[in-house]
Symmetry: C2
Subunit: 258 residues, 2 copies
Amino acid sequence: MVHRLTLTALPGIPLVEPGDDLASLTRQALERAGLVLEAGDVIVAAQKVVSKSEGRLVDLTTVTPSARALEIAKQAEKDPRVIEVILGETAQVVRVRPGVVIVEHRLGFVCANAGVDHSNVRGPGSRSGEWVLLLPEDPDRSAAELRRRLRETTGLESLGVLINDSHGRAWRNGTVGIALGAAGFPALMDLRGRPDLFERALQVTQVGLADEIAAAASALMGQADEGRPIVHARGVPYPLREGSAAELLREKSLDLFR
Amino acid sequence: MVHRLTLTALPGIPLVEPGDDLASLTRQALERAGLVLEAGDVIVAAQKVVSKSEGRLVDLTTVTPSARALEIAKQAEKDPRVIEVILGETAQVVRVRPGVVIVEHRLGFVCANAGVDHSNVRGPGSRSGEWVLLLPEDPDRSAAELRRRLRETTGLESLGVLINDSHGRAWRNGTVGIALGAAGFPALMDLRGRPDLFERALQVTQVGLADEIAAAASALMGQADEGRPIVHARGVPYPLREGSAAELLREKSLDLFR
């Protein structure tokens, strides 16, 4: 048996507006691509379209920065209104340098700017203003909801949904796709106890499988346009199970680099 | 045009021994899979088989730990001989905790155990001893050499080679595949200056594309066996160019988390 993983960027997804139905958009785009969902398939949706469909837009012209936001904005050389929005999504500020604000997001992961995005953002219905986009309120819930809707119409038990985003890394240049939300997918694959070829216990024991598939989808989505925000993946070489992106968050007590 | 990224784990790769010719093994396995290399294709080889083909094996029974190795081994609760081998591959020790040794590898990246691997390792020609496997001496050079050999027989100008490995992350559970070596591949994709949909400059500007493809290949390779150590990738949605994994190393002066 040849193991093959195939990722297809679903064509013709329109610009997403608040209130749009991602499950319908996904179904229509699958049809356009000539794909019929099968057991074990995974849908990866870009954070941006999930956030937009959920209306997670803030108009900066309505934001008044706090004293703390003004101070951090000065250190970071950023728009104090954007910093104010970032702080609203932040559990703990981790590092501030010119051009860089790294925080622990209220959802638990460490990332730049709390995921608040200023590019490729326009207001709902093209309303004027200066808009930024927040992460989904609860990406695992968003993934579970999209999965529920897709299972409803397909009747498939085994179907995974990931929501991906691009994150920087502590020691490496360039962003990579990571799983912000997950449903019906083994986000963290536990290989502990599986013997290796020569019967020694495996040293590498836990694999961030959802992040690996999110990264693959991210490579295919590109960055500069929104034309390919939903990817279909087939051939993940492990059985799917219930799961959530929360599995991927390192406990603070085990974090050596904060 | 539908964007599709297809990764195929090449079947029937035998256990690799020192001196084995990875280019021949790859060609034979491509044939077995019914694949003919095309312009833009990428071959991803697992670090383990590259290291083994290069004979990067050390027999622990021949290793005498230094005083420093003994001290770190005590803190890390690890075999002092393994620590001695790790130190030989290390530029700087970054963190030591029970069960954890994180270093800056002599090649510049931060990783656990300097990539010294104790599982799935046996001696050359099944010689007795307790063997560990080091990373390739120069993974970019190993990638370039494999690429040169594959181009020789195919005549293809545009062909990428990546060598991947599994690394842990500072703040996330589970390992993910990263590019240890690269040749003929845009390891770091620079999107700076590309306008976004609404003519604002992109905030996210550099993508660790080689790491994203390495992660996808890693998901397909699995961990517990060596049966799928070489992956063929087709459909990377960017033109290939010269490049190396060194592009992915963050300069120390920009590292906020060491």
